[in-house]
């Protein structure tokens, strides 16, 4: 029991650090939460539920994540906004047949609020993280994070990572 609690605590801490990096706009830190060949996917729930492979963002390595960060900070023109991530407590899920030793599966709900200059805050993107996490010498790292969002409409654009 205490081991599970400890693991939950560690994942919650990982999520808190992840959210803080994004909300504090330390985008260069963001790929570091993943393994070198880590996966990052932001996908509409309708595609996920129907088994359709298209995602809003689908990155397959830290390199691609760095390219996204360059896009976010240098090339994609957009109106500025703040994000505020509110991440619920992690549920640690049972491992699946064939999972490598030490792999942790977890799921957490999230809500991201957007605040633009001179505007009130609005609910921007709501969904859940479906994670595969591994323990490395440097602590927990994401092998895969899928952000499956309920929001049926992207409010114009989605620039920063979720």
């Amino acid at each position: 029991m205490s081991e599970t609690l400890m693991l939950q605590l560690e994942i919650n801490q990982l999520n808190a650090d992840y959210a803080a990096a994004l909300d504090e706009r330390r985008f260069d830190d963001w790929p570091g939460f993943f393994l070198e060949d880590g996966q990052y996917i932001v996908q509409a729930r309708e595609n996920f539920d129907r088994g359709l492979p298209l995602a809003l963002i689908a990155l397959e390595s830290r390199g691609m994540m760095k390219d996204r960060v360059y896009g976010v900070t240098q090339t994609i023109y957009h109106g500025p906004y703040y994000t505020r991530h509110v991440v619920g407590p992690a549920r640690v899920l049972p491992v699946l047949d064939g999972d490598e030793r030490g792999l942790v599966r977890a799921q957490s709900n999230y809500a991201v609020f957007r605040t633009r200059p001179g505007d009130s805050s609005e609910v921007y993107n709501v969904g859940r993280y479906i994670d595969e996490i591994v323990r490395t010498a440097d602590g927990l790292r994401l092998r895969s994070r899928r952000c499956i969002y309920d929001s049926e409409m992207v409010l114009n654009s989605l620039i920063y990572p979720i």
Partner: protein, 436 residues
Amino acid sequence: MNAPETLSRWTRPESSRVPFWAYTDAQLYRQELDKVFYGRHWCYVGLEVEIPNVGDYKLSWVGERQVIMVRDRVAPRDRGIDPGIRVVENRCAHRGVRFCQQPHGNARSFVCPYHQWTYKLNGELAGLPFKDGVKDGDCVNGGMPADFDLKANGLTRLRVEVLHGLVFATFSEEAEPLADYLGPKVMPWLDRIFKGRQLSLLGYNRQRIPGNWKLMMENIKDPYHPGLLHTWFVTFGLWRADQKSRMVMDDHGRHAVMISRRNDGGENKTVTEGVTSFKANMVLNDDRLLDVVPEPWWKVPDPSTPGADIMPTVTMITLFPSLIIQQQVNSLSTRHIVPRGEGEFDFVWTHFGFADDTPEMTRRRLRQANLFGPAGFVSADDGEVIEFSQDGFRQWGEDGSTLCELGGTGTGGTEHMVTETLIRSMYAYWRKVMGL
């Protein structure tokens, strides 16, 4: 915003200045719905591949009217001539209820939950409870009038035409046949992507953009901006002014195709000097994002030069009023404009591939999808500038106008992309339709 009592009228003979009221006037927008979306035009509703089995349906839109695209049973003798796709309005003939609430599914018939009026898949009224009244001893209470005609009380059924798996519908009885509507200049570019191919559905992205719907059509009739707004296009040579390009339009100027062939990008001072979005030293950390592999179907006989071939890497097709079809290297999508008032529209992306794609090609299409859509490296900023355009129009008011005179004030096709001719030609047509 309060609409003026009498609408301003277009004051110039040419269409190179578009008045701000064309985007901001609520009364004018109501007229657009009637004359454009519910008038003599064909509107895209979806892909045949989205509803592969009898009874499969999905909700879609024609203007602000929600419709159901459904695959009906077809008698064996009609199978050669009837693709079986029906489009009916999602509005019960009885009390006006938008009865179908599931975005997609499979149905044997449609039943309105309010009073159980039941419709066949083709929209005919099949029956309704207590039509012949309710027996109470020897007498019959109530019921519909004796002359009530089931046939005259079905759902609104739209005319439907299917072209190479693309489904179009219209409320108008007067709209010309779809092939004539699209015209012989645009058709070869639809044939190039779709003819004789089975599509595979990859999925959807949806965004709500706070701008007038026409701004989205303009954006894809505007070859001027991609090499300036979009770093990826100018830096990696996906779309920029030193490429071999062609602007094609139909005889009315309402539909268009922007055709181009990518080059190696890099420095070419005439198109990169002073362009802040050009990043001379930009290299991808993971170049799988742009792992382009040419496909055999890209090369076709050149419709305007008999005997010669043409091999574009990008064709952006705008079909008035509400469909954009994208081929940009290996990424393919339809983009459906759903207007929601004069200042907002939904933009629905349906990405697809072909049924005979290898897993590697599917993977590649999905990777390149990172460039497009509401979060795309080269599309996210289009929604943003459309929002800021609408903001600009709104803050000035009646006598302002946009200026689109790159390449002059006339309308006509070109063999380059340094022009705003396609925008001018769309507005020349739009003025006629709107009677302005």
